[in-house]
Symmetry: C2
Subunit: 480 residues, 2 copies
């Protein structure tokens, strides 16, 4: 066993050598996912599902604190229902899975497995919204959705993936826009606070909007390899869906009005973002806030008298203090265990042996920066909590510094050419707002528009592509 897994750690390809292979090695060797005979779908093994549970728990609390409640909609959408909103069906129909038979009988109308549930929520709201008193409707759903992707990759793109989808209905456009922004802020705060991932908040260009939306807001993160990853989206629908589905309410002035709607979602993609933001050549590096195990205790010379007792005592005390702690008292060597938990990205390791016990202290080793120091056993729970909090802060800061160091400003096409040819990362550049110029940047320089950030900078007065007056500063980049 020892040999097998020490080897496993060694078998992780280095990031430098092949980032894609590094990623696949990490997700398989740390037992985050397993493949099955269901093409394009993966099994979320206990370790990744525990991360997802921590994401869910914390995000769900933020949704509830902002007034949302959870519901569950059917997973099937009748074809006629999917077709009610023209842009929406055009966007999704090419990539849905169709159920055509129930048992041995063909269905009268085929059903798609939900790729997203706007149509179902709209039908529901058309039943339950009658008066302004019924508004706003603030619902969310945790479920899986299916999109028939051609090329897939664990967490990043999968035929089935887990997500949450919020769907809300409001009396006014203003309120709906505020909701769209509120939830984008919730996502950004969650990413920074829990995942230690800094994000750029902004708006998608027209060509990149969600099917059926008036505006799509997004948060964009930058992975270790300089490739951008869309980590969450929040859509403003205006009253387009309401008109297609007849969602009307009697307002205070006694006239019938259409509601204004939003939807917003994040997916298990966030786990991919965590891996590619914090991971290194030794494997995963997990932020304490969502790590299934925040700290592992490794007894040293554990067959010496008192060592295991002390380790168990520490475990009990730390667990009682609310720390997610594990003790590995298996027969493997301490060295094997060190690499194992390093690979698994456990934020903190506590080593305790006979000499530590004699001295009333223990060693604490941080996964994020490799720091290893001796600490007194007195008040150890407090010490551990402080260090975990510090790791969380430091990981965000480190990720932010890296992201910033990989963000470049292009003031003209020469600079754009130079950056896109020699560097990987975000490129900031002005844009006229014309779809033709957006396409030209993509085709000539290989980078797409990621978003129009809310925090605008002035990098010049004209669009470097066409020379016409610039409207926005845009983040450009390659993307997952």
């Amino acid at each position: 066993m020892a040999d097998k897994s020490t080897k496993a750690v060694k078998e992780i390809t280095s990031m430098e050598e092949d980032f894609g292979k590094w990623y696949t090695d990490v997700v398989l060797k740390t037992q985050l996912v397993d493949y099955s005979s269901v093409k394009g779908c993966v099994i979320l093994q206990p370790y990744s599902y525990a991360i997802w549970e921590n994401i869910q728990k914390n995000l769900d609390a933020m949704f509830k604190a902002t007034g949302h409640t959870n519901v569950y909609m059917p997973m099937f959408i009748p074809e006629s229902l999917l077709q009610k909103e023209k842009d929406h069906v055009e966007g999704f129909a090419p990539e849905v899975a169709w159920v055509t038979h129930g048992g041995s009988e063909p269905l009268a109308e085929r059903l798609c497995v939900r790729p997203t549930s706007e149509t179902l929520f709209c039908e529901y709201y058309s039943h339950v919204v009658q008066s302004y008193r019924d508004l706003p409707k603030l619902c969310n759903q945790w479920c899986s959705v299916v999109r028939w992707e051609k090329t897939t990759r664990p967490f990043l793109r999968s035929r089935e993936f887990l997500w949450q989808e919020g769907h809300t209905a409001h009396a006014t456009a203003q309120e709906a826009i505020e909701e769209t922004e509120r939830m984008l802020n919730v996502y950004a705060e969650f990413c920074e606070k829990y995942l230690a991932i800094p994000v750029v908040k902004g708006r998608k260009t027209e060509s990149d909007k969600f099917a059926g939306a008036e505006a799509t807001y997004c948060i964009e993160a930058l992975m270790h390899d300089g490739v951008a990853l869309q980590a969450g989206t929040s859509h403003y629908f205006g009253d387009g869906f309401a008109k297609a589905f007849g969602i009307q309410f009697a307002d205070k002035d006694n006239t019938l009005k259409y509601v204004y709607q939003t939807s917003w979602g994040v997916t298990t993609r966030l786990i991919g973002a965590v891996i590619m933001t914090h991971g290194d050549d030794n494997g995963l590096v997990l932020p304490p806030a969502i790590a299934p195990t925040e700290m592992v205790i490794i007894p040293v010379a554990m067959h010496k008298e008192g060592v295991l007792e002390k380790a168990n005592e520490l475990k009990a005390a730390l667990a009682a203090a609310g720390i997610r702690v594990d003790l590995d008292d298996s027969e493997q060597s301490p060295g094997w265990k060190y690499s194992q938990y390093e690979m698994k990205g456990v934020p903190l390791r506590l080593e305790i042996g006979p000499r530590d016990i004699e001295n009333g202290c223990c060693m604490l080793a941080r996964r994020d920066n490799g720091e290893k120091k001796s600490y007194p056993l007195e008040n150890i729970a407090e010490t551990v909590k402080e260090i975990l909090a510090q790791i969380q802060v430091d990981m965000l800061e480190k990720a932010r510094e890296r992201r910033d160091s990989m963000t470049y400003a292009a003031h003209n096409t020469d600079e754009l050419k130079e950056i896109t040819e020699s560097k990987q990362g975000f490129v900031k550049m002005m844009w006229c707002g014309d779809e033709e110029c957006e396409k030209a940047v993509k085709e000539t320089y290989g980078v797409g528009s990621r978003c129009i950030p809310f925090e605008q900078e002035n990098l010049g007065d004209v669009c470097p592509i066409c020379g016409k007056p610039a409207k926005h500063m845009v983040y450009w980049g390659k993307a997952y």
Copy 2:
């Protein structure tokens, strides 16, 4: 609004008059579910989903306390994978939904939407189980499954429903049998402790086993109308699936052995069981342990000075004490609110008006037995906690008394005839173990075998049907 909803309460059909209609009225009028255009599936509205969240949270903690971890498997099963275990595919193939197209292209192999995930877990375990060190595997999954039912009813039978499915693999038959029993006991304990539903624990007869199981254990509850409801099942598979899927491990003695497996599940059916065990002609009666709102505060004469302030202060204090409390300060009359929350089954109501405040007290009204008394505001959180705990105990006791009063012993066919013709409920009767006699009871007297209870009683030496020696005492009854 007031008129509309007072009417709503009145519109609940009485149980006596038509139990089926009473049930439908309750689930719709308390906004537990809504129908959609997806035939045979319902929408779980916020109120029922919040009940499910409380069920999930508590049951999940019990699973984790017994060493289980959660995973997520794909929702699709390739036809060839479903067919690997002969009995299993025979049982499920007639009732699965088939996906035949991805986007506009026909699939090379059709996929069924999981009706249950034994086959996927088996494939997974065949990958990750190699040595005795890898055992036991104790996994669980929270998800929805699909079975193409002809007739459906909210919570009780639905084409799609939410559930959890535990799947475990063990080194020995003994361990697997212990696990099957352990999880049945977890279910029974959960039903009694959280849902206040008494259950009979037992084993299904051969004809009633799960497709592919060696033994199926179950918990059976008795609804208000005397009809039984299977509330949870736990299956022992022996090594049948392991042989079909090639799940082998190297044991300590260095020989290759097949694992022994179990699976166990409960569904949103439990919500149906809560409704039909505790509900009355005024609507729902929810056990505090899983009620989304344990207590509602209704201010009386709320425009009088100090009333709303006091109500809000109470709400904050009670919420801080960990009680799920709501305050209804809407413009409806207190009387309207009383019936509204009664219909919704909120376990406890606190009324507070100017005179109460003057006297330093409030009224507390229990939903389960209608008791209404004045209590001092001092230590109100403690008082409320005690009453909620008492409600939980009393509800279980009341349900047990009713169940027992509806359980009859038949010592011969005359008694069986008399009971089944004039009464509704469980019938206890001896059985020889012969499938023919089981069929005869069903055909002649209209009651099926519910289970062979673990707690056996001796009601005679022979099977009343055939006169041969009796092997078991069986619970018989009509069932949902």
